[in-house]
């Protein structure tokens, strides 16, 4: 019986309970999902904040850099030449534009400023252009004008309107001096050198030791090309300066027009002296003046 009864003992493994338990463990509860969602949302928020902060910092830094580059560009333009082309917006990283959302700095304002400045510079240069005419020896074929400054030749070209070449010089007295001159023989009179000066020297005239005899005689043109600037600049020279009307110079092509002026002056003085000494009235007056002076001196000494 016991054996039979023992055979009635429930020997089932009750596996269904286990299966149920396992199924519950595989599917996370809704609360866990909600927690996970909250966690990722918080992370998302934190990332967004960090990104915003980083973008702000980046924008500030970028703005500083742009300002610095603009400033250096402007100083470069002031000193030398037209600016380099601005970096094309296409070259800007699309990401930085999109993410940073920074308004790309408009280059139109800078360009306008630059154009205005350039125009002003051009007008200043135009104002200071002066033309000076120098008389040279007919045999002299060089394009060298001795005006007291040192010049460095940087070019020469043949122009259509004039058969003689035009030489370009830059002032070599000071590195910062931007004065340039063009020298070309006059079409009307090949013995006249036409020097066109652009700008104004920012330094005093170099030593005039060698300049006393070596300077060309300059002729200021009677027309409108000659400016007071040129006249003032030349008047500072210690050499005899003659102002000759070009209309006259056209007519006078004889060798007398090429006489050296110091010689003429010397001749005039000699002529005046000889004519005075030959005049008996003058010698008598001179003798009277001298004796009178001597008499006066003797009288006061006594």
């Amino acid at each position: 019986m016991d054996q039979y009864s023992s055979s009635l003992v429930d020997t089932s493994l009750d596996l269904t309970i286990g299966v149920t338990r396992m199924r519950v463990e595989e599917d996370p509860p809704t609360s866990a999902l909600v927690e996970e969602l909250n966690r990722v949302s918080a992370e998302n928020k934190k990332l967004s904040e960090m990104l915003t902060l980083m973008c702000d910092n980046y924008n500030v830094l970028r703005k500083q850099l742009m300002e610095y580059v603009n400033k250096s560009n402007i100083t470069e333009r002031d000193q030398i030449s037209p600016p380099k082309k601005r970096k094309s917006p296409a070259r800007e990283d699309a990401f930085s534009c999109a993410v940073i959302g920074g308004v790309s700095e408009s280059s139109s304002t800078d360009q306008d400023e630059y154009l205005c400045k350039k125009q002003r510079e051009e007008t200043v240069v135009k104002e200071k252009v002066s033309r000076v005419y120098y008389k040279t020896e007919a045999s002299d074929t060089t394009l060298v004008v001795k005006d007291g400054y040192q010049w460095r030749k940087y070019g020469q070209k043949v122009t259509r309107d004039n058969p003689s070449p035009r030489a370009y010089f830059k002032c070599a007295c000071a590195p910062s001096c931007s004065v340039k001159k063009k020298v070309q023989r006059s079409v009307e009179d090949q013995s006249v050198l036409v020097a066109t000066y652009e700008g104004e020297h920012n330094h005093p005239m170099p030593s005039q030791i060698d300049s006393n005899n070596g300077l060309n005689r300059h002729i200021s043109h009677g027309g409108s090309a000659s400016t007071p600037v040129a006249a003032n600049r030349r008047s500072s020279l210690t050499v005899p300066v003659t102002t000759v009307d070009m209309i006259e110079s056209k007519k006078v092509t004889s060798p007398t027009s090429r006489i050296d002026f110091p010689q003429v002056q010397k001749l005039l003085v000699e002529q005046m002296a000889s004519s005075l000494t030959k005049d008996p009235n003058f010698t008598a007056a001179l003798a009277a003046a001298v004796t009178g002076k001597l008499y006066q001196q003797n009288h006061t000494e006594k």
């Binding site: 909600v34 996970e36 990722v40 998302n44 990104l51 500083q64 990401f95 993410v99």
Partner: protein, 39 residues
């Protein structure tokens, strides 16, 4: 159904986080490059 919705939302936010992390990395890279340039 609610769990599915939650799971979808988690996936979406995770994907967004991944993108944000990538963007942040790039901005950081640019920032430090610019910073080095300035220095």
């Amino acid at each position: 159904e609610k769990r599915n919705m939650l799971q979808d939302e988690i996936n979406r936010v995770n994907s967004e986080n991944k993108k944000l992390t990538e963007m942040l990395a790039r901005v950081c890279e640019k920032y430090y490059a610019l910073n080095n340039l300035m220095e």
